[in-house]
């Protein structure tokens, strides 16, 4: 049922016969597409926390999507598979990025997935000392990079954020690029081309809309931080560039 739904979505305009063949091909690539959707969603969530004040509706919808994917992956057993396949730093980073969003310390022990919204409360309310400690305790089982990333969510100190923004972006790049070059191509080779024709066109627009994010950052920074602001702008440009490369391959 899920495969059929996804096929309609991503294999546009297939004839029926080809559709069946594509259906046979679809099963392995369904996992890859689901994975790329998960990656995309995580990047979106990371980015939206960088903006002036994240759009709560959008964040909630993306986080719900992430949770849905992870629930399905847990049922499939593929979630466990990914954990064992990746090695060392890369797996930690992947765990890290989803952990912030999807696990509190309790549920991690139980193996369940729940979105971590202490981040949202920190954005909007200054007095969430409890939530701070919760996020920190989640970090206890994971090492140093985790602490840097948790600082990203705190909007109280924009100057500090800018430095950590650079570090967390590095981690996103690591997460996406630590796969071997072959696997990156594999990730996208199975997907139907028509999906990416639209994407190539839309990516152009996406970089335009991402420029909007840069504008948001510009207004956000105070005059004294103009140098770090330009760093952020170039960081976003860099991310655009890399995502464009990944998509257009």
């Amino acid at each position: 049922m899920f495969v059929r739904g996804l096929k309609r979505k991503c294999f546009d305009g297939e004839e029926d016969i080809e559709g069946t063949l594509a259906g046979i091909k679809a099963i392995p690539s369904y996992n890859l597409q689901r994975q790329s959707l998960l990656d995309m969603s995580l990047v979106k969530l990371q980015l939206c926390h960088m903006l002036v004040e994240p759009n709560l509706c959008r964040s909630v919808l993306i986080a719900n999507t992430v949770r849905q994917i992870q629930e399905e992956m847990t049922q499939d057993g593929t979630w466990q598979m990914i954990n064992t396949q990746s090695t060392g730093q890369a797996s930690l980073d992947r765990l890290v990025s989803t952990d912030i969003l999807c696990r509190s310390s309790r549920e991690q022990a139980e193996g369940k997935h729940v979105p971590g919204y202490s981040t949202f409360s920190k954005d909007f309310e200054g007095d969430q000392a409890q939530d701070n400690s919760e996020t920190m305790s989640t970090a206890s089982s994971v090492q140093a990079p985790r602490n840097l990333q948790s600082n990203v969510w705190e909007m109280e100190n924009p100057q500090e954020n800018k430095g950590n923004f650079q570090k967390s972006l590095d981690q996103i790049f690591e997460t996406l690029e630590n796969k071997s070059p072959n696997s990156v191509e594999e990730l996208f080779s199975e997907v139907d081309n028509s999906y990416y024709d639209l994407d190539t066109m839309l990516t152009g627009m996406m970089s335009n809309t991402k420029m909007g994010h840069c504008d948001g950052l510009e207004t956000f920074s105070s005059p004294s931080t103009t140098t770090s602001n330009s760093n952020c702008k170039s960081d976003l440009n860099e991310l655009d560039h890399i995502v464009e490369i990944l998509v257009e391959s």
Binding site: M1, F2, R4, G5, L6, R8, K9, C10, D12, G13, Q33, R34, L37, M40, K44, V52, E53, N55, L56, C57, R58, V60, L61, N64, T65, Q68, I69, S104, V114, P115, G116, Y117, S118, F120, S121, D123, F124, E125, G126, Q128, D131, M155, E156, N157, P158, Y195, D197, L198, D199, M201, L202, T203, M205, M206, N208, T209, T219, F220, V247
Partner: protein, 420 residues
């Protein structure tokens, strides 16, 4: 010109207000009938322009508050002046727009320039008289309703009692009295005690047009709750709950996102309400909660492109919808500067385009068609050629006549029925 973020006719339809991303409000007024210039009837010209909101900085959270006008709502007219409410993410303002066409002349203590006259020079007393002057339209802020919303305000709605109004943000709805700015009542609060459990937000809210105790609010999960303020002070428990059961055959990872309701509007009659989600418009009978009575597909051809639309964030675009005066037709926007109108009686629908290239002033609009697959006919446009940057999010319909206002990014188009 800045990107238009809201469009609203007043109760008579003579005035049309637009708000933009720069915090400005521009009000257009309809020209009176003039026999010597028959074509100018129905034309809207600029009546007043003012800066409603300025960008602010929240020092506590180190965040900038955008000056973009999210919504404008007119108050019913009670005297010569016009009143409207305009809101950005955090603050609602009541503006008074009044005309001045006379000015006093002949003061005793100051001369025409305003300079004080030398008292020794005044030898006689005179009574100032009112002399006609060029019409001047002044806008002044009469009330500022601030500091009541932690989250971003998405809706305001004037009550039918003309004394109160509601304002809704992502998690809360507040009730205000138009005269009182230092107090508001919280009537809905869906913020969970633990923000980690947040999975649903409020997306729009509106008062019933006739029953001053009834209002509805929609959510990001595609549900609408109708609340009665007589039942309790805090309306966290709804009186009615509207939700259409999900179609399991079309389930995907994007199902929830596309079910999120971006706008809810009561019909003028008060018997129906209309909701807009990403791909469709639904009309609900207030007496039937389990499914809508009518569903109209706005751009079903986008269902197969949801993955790309998620990637470029278009899937989060919030389209509005509106009724015509008699509730027989509904209108909503789409991409490529297209907007769609549905006739509820004949079930006919039409797609039109708001762009300079495709229409000259006073030319009749040509219906447009999107080709969904296979051969593209002449004049059709294929889905892949649609410009997703050209989105029509805001439209308004004159309360009585067939005149519509369509906001296409930073341009405002006003269309009307062909006049014989």
């Amino acid at each position: 010109a800045d990107i238009i973020s809201t469009v609203e006719f007043n109760y008579s339809g003579d005035l049309l207000a637009t708000g933009d991303k720069g915090g400005r409000v521009v009000i257009f007024q309809r020209e009176q009938e003039n026999k010597s210039r028959p074509h100018s009837r129905g034309e809207y010209n600029v009546y007043s322009t003012f800066q409603s909101h300025e960008p602010e900085f929240d020092y506590l959270k180190s965040l900038e508050i955008e000056e973009k006008i999210n919504k404008i709502r007119w108050l019913p007219q009670q005297n010569a002046a016009h009143f409207l409410l305009s809101t950005n993410d955090k603050t609602i303002k009541l503006w008074k727009i009044s005309e001045r066409d006379k000015r006093p002349e002949g003061y005793n203590l100051k001369d025409e320039d305003g300079r004080l006259r030398d008292p020794f020079r005044i030898t006689a007393l005179r009574v100032p008289i009112l002399k006609p002057m060029d019409l001047m339209v002044e806008a002044s802020p009469r009330r500022i309703f601030a500091n009541a919303h932690t989250y971003h305000i998405n809706s305001i709605s004037v009550n039918s009692d003309h004394e109160t109004y509601l304002s809704a943000d992502d998690l809360r709805i507040n009730l205000w009295h138009l005269e009182i700015t230092d107090r508001s009542f919280n009537i809905v609060d869906i913020k969970p005690a633990n923000m980690e459990e947040l999975t649903e937000v409020i997306t729009a809210a509106e008062f019933h047009p006739h029953h001053c105790n009834v209002f509805v609010y929609s959510s990001s999960k595609g549900t609408i709750r109708l609340c009665d303020m007589r039942s309790s002070a805090l309306c966290d428990r709804h009186s009615k709950f509207f939700e259409e059961p999900e179609d399991p055959s079309s389930r995907s990872f994007f199902s929830e996102i596309i079910s999120s309701i971006s706008d809810v509007k009561f019909s003028h009659s008060g018997r129906y309400m209309m909701t807009r989600d990403y791909l469709s418009v639904k009309v609900w009978d207030l007496n039937m909660e389990n499914r809508p009575v009518e569903t109209y597909q706005v751009h079903e051809y986008l269902r197969s492109k949801l993955c790309s639309l998620y990637e470029n964030d278009c899937i989060f675009d919030k389209f509005e919808c509106c009724w015509n005066g008699s509730d027989s037709a509904i209108m909503t926007g789409s991409y490529n500067n297209f907007f769609r109108m549905f006739d509820r009686n004949t079930r006919r629908d039409i797609t039109l385009e708001a762009s300079r290239e495709s229409s000259k002033p006073r030319a009749i609009l040509k219906p447009r068609k999107v080709c969904t697959g296979g051969k593209r006919k002449k004049d059709e446009i294929s889905v892949d050629s649609l410009d997703f940057n050209k989105k029509i999010l805001h439209t308004a319909w004159h309360p009585m006549e067939n005149i519509i206002a369509v906001a296409a990014t930073n341009n405002l188009y006003i269309f009307q029925d062909k006049i014989n």
